[in-house]
Amino acid sequence: MANGSNGKPKTELLDELEKGPWPSFVKEIKQACETSDSSKDLLGQLELSYKQKIGHWKHGGIVGVLGYGGGIIGRYSDVPEQFPKVAHFHTMRINHPAGWFYNSEALRTICDIWERHGSGLTNMHGSTGDIILLGTTTPELEPTFQELTHAGFDLGGSGSAVRTPNACVGMARCEWACFDTLKMCYDTTQNYQDELHRPAFPYKFKFKFSGCPNDCVASIARADMSVIGTWKDDIQQDDAEVSKYAAAGVDIQKDVCDLCPSKCMAWDGKKLKIENSDCVHCMHCINVMPKALRPGKERGAVILLGSKAPIVQGALLSSVLIPFVPADELFDTLKELVTRIWDFWDENGTNRERVGELIQRVGLPAFLDAIGLDPVPEMVSAPRDNPYIFYQTKKEGGDE
């Protein structure tokens, strides 16, 4: 590979991506070259990918730290002769503080450790939420890990394990959090350390905690267990503030009432009337007028199950398992439920079958029987429309 200045490889194609107003990842990799030779080879290999339109990473390999079955993604170059410094270039997933809150000292601690042991490149953050330390060699894994744990950080999940649980900013900086998402996330993570670090499941299992139905961490689309905050009583309403929004130009009829999915609101030009028993808790009106309307006071969450991306049997959204759990009962309910779900999944799940796919395969009724939950109409958008019913014939002696 022809070298440019400072030992950096020539990167005619990638240099194009230093132009333009948006932050440039190429600039980031070049910056990392100041403290890391592996970043120079990464840059060279990436330029080769841009030329050839193909990736140059080999299929992962099993690497890790002592006593852990996950948290490290093995990565090897398929052109190591050309780019020896990225011959191994493993990823470390580091469990982030819930809500992604840091101070400058914590950030510098991570940077210093990563300057000593790795490429100096990171993702802030990976898709699941972890801090991603991108690229180091096998011998550096254990020393990096030990420095990290001494600094108070631990590895995240990978493989067929609990993945790093994630949460929205919640009560730390949002008025809509209907339960303490950060506490739930932290408590869940601590409670399942073994399941997180030592893969023993058919496939991955993700928890995501969103404080309200706006679902800022995409819980309903991306978590096997989706916990999404909501409320049971009336929307808290400040009529004076509603009037102020109207006076400031919000068209209450058009922008609020007409867009209400359950049509539970009426505006007569002076007073907003909400028929709360018809409200589906979608958040639209509250989003439009955050000073005037707030979630009610009887708060908790909906627990839904089963969402995932397409691999293997197709993408799924989570569906309702428990329509409402009061906030103070949420953690105990979750633990109880998770035990029963994992028991059934362990027993019946096939290799690489997510919980959602298992439910599709055996059917929700059989799954509910197995985990001991009674069916309720909130679980379906409509009852079945086909008559192929697996009737359970009554056994002699009465009980089904």
Binding site: K19, W22, S24, R75, A98, L121, P143, V217
Partner: protein, 360 residues
Amino acid sequence: MSTTPTKRITDIGPPHYQKFMHPLVKKNYGKWKYHESPQPGVLCHVSETGDRIYSVRAATPRLMSIQSIRKFAELADKHSGGYLRFTSRNNVEFLLDNPDHIEPLKKDLFAAGFPVGGTNNAISNIVHTQGWVHCHSAATDASGIVKSVMDALYDRFTHQNMPAKLRIALACCLNMCGAVHCSDIAILGVHRVVPKVNQTQVPRVCEVPTLIASCPTGAIRPTTIDGKPNVEVIDQQCMFCGNCFTVCPAMVMNDPENDGLSIWVGGKVSNARSEPKFSKLAIPYLPNNPPRWPEVVAAVVNIVDVYAKNARKYERMGEWIDRVGWPRFFKLTGIEFSRYHIDDFKHAGLTYARSTHVKY
């Protein structure tokens, strides 16, 4: 330099979420009453105690060097008492108790190359995957396309002039580490040729029954070569998901000529107004054209522009399309409708039009 400590610590979990939190955030935890949006990229949350915290949001490239993270630490020390957080869409947010620091911080962020914006009805940062930077199954790069698309949509990040939120996500293969399947606009890397089976490697590196079971369409068939269990692929049954490659490296998917991108639209995760929904196919294939992927950029910008011009206030992409109908979406965007748009996998019939409700 090795600084390996002697005592081994494991299973401590993450730092407590309050450990690095701004004191004002800690003090008002659970007490926030409402928020205001003073300007693009800036939010002001007001507590029941009367306290105010200002969040200044800036884009990051997600792929961050320690040099840039240290820059954030420096800016946090200078302007926000050393406190910041990151968002679920790879933005950074500086948390300020003193509004006098907003403008100087913004100036410093823009000067350092990190634009302020992404709030409310702006296009926020793109959630994305690793691509050629660090993934073995990538059908495309991620960071390069994101950079090129956001260069073109820059003004829509720094201004809040969209009809509603617009979320773009990119995943470089169907594994969807970025779970793009519920985004207003999803850019998805696709493979389009059947895996090239390296039959000498199969018995050495793969467990054949697991490999056969990995195929959702049963396209992988057992065979025997030189007395050893092996596999072959029934080409017609393969839909290029790449799951076989994930369980067996001898099933090579990457192909420079045929890999590329697809574009999906109209998904959302929020429950606001309409229910969460999947993104639907808009464009089945665009070529991999590094370093700037002009075809992808043009396609995304076109969809964004047509949506911005035609959608009503508060209407997300999918809600707009639900109102006007898919035929009009294709007409307005000028995107060709093809056989690939019609589902033929499981439950496909549910998406066939089953009424005479047709607009002329």
